[in-house]
Amino acid sequence: MPNSTDTRSASFASRLREKLRSHRPTTKTTLQIGLPTVLLLLIAPITSDVTLFKIGLLLLFAVAAVGLHVLVNWAGELSLAHAGMVGLPALVVAKLSSDHNLSPLELAPIGILIGFALGAVVAATARRVSGLYVTIVTLAAGLAIDRFFFTKPWLVGTGNLKLTAPRLAGLEFGSIQAIYPIIVVVFIGSVFATRRLLDSKLGRALLTVRSDPTIAQAQGINVPAYRAAAYMFAGALAGLAGGFMPLWAQRVTPDSFPLELSFTYLAVVVVAGRGSINGVLGAALLIEGFRQFLSGTSFIAAYLGPVALIVTLTRFPGGLNQFGRMIGGQLAGVVGRFRPGRSPGDAEG
């Protein structure tokens, strides 16, 4: 073969290029996960315990909100039971921990299962009827959790549940500073796991179902199953957030999960808008963060949720994500102008 070396070197070059290309996303992913993790961890030593406590609550709030985001902004469904789906797992974990002298850390994963199961109950109707009716079911489920489970002494105890000190594999987590990294891992882990799922066939199937169920069916998407899956996913993330609540808050009562909280979650995902999880994080910081950190100005704190929801819905339906895409586009334009080789004669990039 006359040009066998040629082909071989060419194939080597293309293999190398391929390898580099396939490697790039992993370094990118490492950065994407590592940078926020490090930043969040660096906050801990420089803040007071009170502030750190609020940050932890905010992170868990965001985890649950991401679940609702997938349900509302990707699948196009609606749930009014989200507070209950966080609260019930939280109370079960707290109760088990206090009754059986178990570490709330080891019990936390049970929260996911309970949340998932609650989602599955709602999903049973989602397989039969359209979103409007399922919304009524979620309202009924949320109310039933609030009025039935949250009033039962066998679940919520008679006063404060005394939690066992958190430990895992022989390690004791005595201080809030020691527990904080666990919350950060839960937050980062769920955000990136969700991001990855949304950027796969699951996310695209949900988009298609929301856009047009008929087209989705013709593409081989099992529409009722995917609608149901969205409810179960939202339930699982709510349960994850709830499951870690006893570990972080040390004290959990039904008062932490009022019916209005379901509305706050909804306001957050509406303000976030369709698309990226980044919008949810921004909206959670805006609405729940405002409430956590600036509760002194209670007038604004009280009206912020409903007003932000109505204004976003009717005036800026794209939400924060639309805003983010606009800024991103502008930035890309600016960066593009300074990129070398684009316009010869320009200074070095």
Partner: protein, 285 residues
């Protein structure tokens, strides 16, 4: 047992009355108005303020309360429903949730979340039916509910507004093409629904714990009642309300655990939707 059934039936009149207002909106806009209860609640608060604190004559106070609720209905239509026309139904419903939350926040801040005194619009000793003491305001609620049903039938089938309303409900685009001003029909509907909400709330206020949440607490029961009637039938919704009330009377009688009614309601709603997604009765009106 008979007493709890009868007592439940009168509770059910309340649910049915609120459910009628939900159905009026659903028929035209095909959405559930989650702000219905709060729109009525504000009207009832205004009524109580004027009647009890400012000693206005009863009729004027009732009129003012109803007017405020009707106005709130119109404002909701203008601020939320109109800009969201053509959006998915769930989006519009989220908008009404926003309104409901906004009104609730306002009421809690303006009047405090604590229960307040409510005087029935008619007083008297009441009388006994089968061992149950029925208060005059309960009878009045029933009469008003039946009157609203009759009036709605008149408006819907005998007036030109009703014709335009039915056309819009059937197909709003087609209605617009034949010259129906869909925007006006929608606004009229919301005014009517708001007025019904206000009147219901004024009547109900003295029969339950009268706080900012009193209508919100009845919302799910009213919604379940409307659902039993298939969401589009006002008579079905009213009958559904009475059925629910009677069921609640029996459940509350047998099983006193807190939340038992809510838990049963959740199971019932799911069962109805899984077994008969179109509602239990299929009535046209």
């Amino acid at each position: 047992m008979e007493i709890s059934l009868l007592n439940g039936a009168f509770l059910g009149v309340i649910y049915g009355l609120i459910a009628i207002g939900l159905v009026v909106v659903y028929r035209v806009t095909r959405i559930i108005n989650f702000a219905h209860g709060e729109i009525g609640m504000i009207g009832a608060f205004v009524f109580a303020d004027l009647w009890l604190d400012h000693d206005l004559p009863l009729v004027l106070a009732v009129g003012a309360g109803i007017a405020v609720s009707a106005l709130l209905g119109v404002i909701t239509e203008f601020v939320v429903i109109r800009p969201l026309r053509g959006q998915p139904r769930l989006t519009v419903m989220v908008g009404t949730l926003g309104v409901s939350s906004l009104l609730l926040v306002y009421a809690v801040r303006r009047y405090s979340p604590r229960p307040r005194f409510a005087r029935p619009v008619i007083e008297g000793n009441g009388f006994e039916i089968a061992g149950l003491l029925v208060r005059p305001v309960q009878i009045l609620t029933l009469v008003v509910a039946l009157a609203i049903l009759a009036l709605l039938a008149l408006v819907m089938f005998k007036s030109s507004f009703g014709l335009r309303l039915r056309a819009t409900a059937l197909d709003s685009e087609a209605a617009a093409e034949v010259g129906v001003r869909v925007g006006r029909v929608s606004m009229g509907t919301w005014a009517i629904a708001g007025a019904i909400a206000g009147l219901s709330a004024i009547l109900v206020s003295s029969q339950v714990v009268f706080s900012a949440f009193f209508m919100s607490r009845l919302m799910l029961r009213a919604l379940a009642a409307a659902l039993l009637g298939g969401l589009t039938s006002v008579t079905g919704a009213f009958a559904g309300g009475i059925f629910l009330g009677m069921a609640e009377g029996v459940i509350g009688f047998q099983w006193i655990a807190p939340g038992a009614v809510e838990a049963s309601l959740a199971v019932l709603v799911m069962a109805v939707l899984i077994v008969r997604p179109k509602g239990l009765v299929a009535a046209e009106y």
